[in-house]
């Protein structure tokens, strides 16, 4: 698996991910990044070892004498076949599952001349989770953020005033950040994003881009 990512989630996000306390929308983005980034996977393993040691040090509590027998009975009568894992090499598992189960619409929706969106229903109310597609060389409107936004590049690349972002790169936009992403010339770019508050257009003609102003946490 490739590992050319330059932009990673910060350590506290990985720690919360490892402890299972990171909120759903952020977890989706971190898990998408981990799909591409072997160095963060190695970090996560070390953090999981801490969690595992913690669990080993939890005060053990006796289970009932018949607990094992009733467990085996349940296993034998459930008819559930053991699963062999079948990793998906193209897309992060969580994104793949969302695409199969939770797309609001099966088609891309046009946001602007160069950006399409596909929104997910993720059962939480704080963030809108969506895929954005920027066409090759496409310019997005210059905009500012009122809330936090996590973005992971799933395919292709895009750039803004600061850097070029490639497959697997993880970005955080904080309230107050203003930027103008641009799709790479050589092909479309698809990003996963979780957005917590409407973004504000700084372009005076911004009112034409109304869909940008709506977020729909679902």
């Amino acid at each position: 698996m490739i590992n050319s990512t330059n932009h990673h989630p910060d350590e506290n996000m990985l720690i919360e991910f490892s402890a299972g306390t990171l909120e759903t929308a952020a977890s989706i983005c971190v898990s998408a990044h981990l799909h591409f980034c072997s160095s963060c996977r190695a970090k996560l393993l070390r953090l999981d070892q801490v969690g595992s040691q913690m669990m080993s040090e939890a005060e053990p509590i006796e289970v009932a004498d018949n607990a094992f027998d009733s467990l085996m009975e349940k296993i034998d009568t459930s008819g559930i076949e053991p699963v062999k894992s079948t990793p998906n090499v193209d897309l992060p598992f969580s994104v793949n599952k969302l695409m199969n189960t939770s797309l609001i619409s099966k088609n891309w929706k046009r946001l602007s001349s160069s950006v399409d969106v596909a929104r997910f229903k993720t059962g939480q109310e704080k963030f809108e989770v969506a895929l954005h597609k920027i066409c090759a060389g496409g310019k997005t409107p210059k905009h500012g953020h009122e809330g936090v936004e996590y973005t992971v590049v799933l395919k292709g690349s895009f750039s803004d005033e600061d850097a070029v972002y490639r497959e697997g790169d993880f970005l955080v936009r904080n309230p107050g950040d203003v930027h103008q992403p641009m799709g790479a010339q050589n092909g479309e770019c698809i990003c996963l994003s979780a957005l917590s508050a409407p973004i504000k257009l700084t372009n005076p003609l911004g009112f034409l881009m109304k869909p940008w102003l709506r977020i729909n946490p679902m």
Binding site: E11, G20, E23, D48, E62, V63, T86, K97, N107
Partner: protein, 219 residues
């Protein structure tokens, strides 16, 4: 590819790759190094009920203890027994996919338990349908560099030793995060500390344990 309709992206996404099970050829020195991983391999390869019973005997009470350590919203008295059952069923069903070169049995079972615990609590406190559970964030990519059981055992022994030497307040914050299942924001509210302090204290503890590398040391 991902072009006009989103659906088409799934056709390439379903090119599943078969994982190769390399655990059958463990060196004898490694076989002695971690009995739990050996037992788990046995369950995965041979549906070995005796090995599974031994794992249950060891991990059952720990899992129940882990459930009771939770201080999360949605906690209920039966969580312990429910968690033991749900985790061990998953262990039985997923053992065939366990790869000892990626993680020890204890760490692997921890990740199953962590995901189960949070998912059970969320199901309890949230009536809305959640299309994704914590379990879905856990994935098993193919690593280029396998880690031997012996190496893992050594690094886990180090974790155990360095955890025991942490100053009290660093130990306390890690327990809040990992055992009680508190987010940084919740820990900050409970301890009456600014969020930034909680974040840096957690990082400091893990730097001290040499789990993460301090920024200063990197430069």
């Amino acid at each position: 590819m991902m072009t006009s309709t989103i659906n088409t992206a799934n056709s390439t996404a379903n090119n599943n790759r078969v994982t190769v099970n390399r655990v059958t050829t463990l060196k004898s020195s490694e076989k002695r190094s971690d009995q739990w991983s050996q037992l788990l391999i046995s369950v995965g390869e041979n549906r070995d009920r005796k090995a599974f019973a031994q794992l249950f005997k060891h991990f059952g009470p720990l899992l129940k203890g882990f459930a009771h350590a939770s201080r999360n919203e949605g906690w209920f008295p039966g969580l312990g027994d429910d968690l033991v059952q749900e985790v061990m069923i998953k262990v039985w069903n997923k053992a065939a996919g366990y790869n000892a070169e990626k993680a020890s049995a204890t760490t692997w079972i921890y990740t199953v338990a962590r995901n189960c615990r949070i998912d059970m609590l969320r199901r309890k406190s949230n009536t809305q349908h959640l299309p994704l559970e914590n379990e879905d964030f856990w994935h098993e990519p193919d690593e280029e560099t396998p880690i031997s059981l012996l190496q893992q055992k050594r690094s886990e022994d180090k974790v155990q030793a360095s955890l025991a030497q942490l100053p009290k307040e660093q130990d306390q914050i890690l327990r809040k995060v990992y055992l009680e299942g508190k987010s940084h924001a919740e820990a900050s509210a409970e301890l009456g500390l600014p969020l930034g302090t909680v974040k840096s204290r957690v990082r400091l503890a893990l730097q001290k344990m040499q789990i993460i590398v301090s920024k200063e040391a990197q430069e």
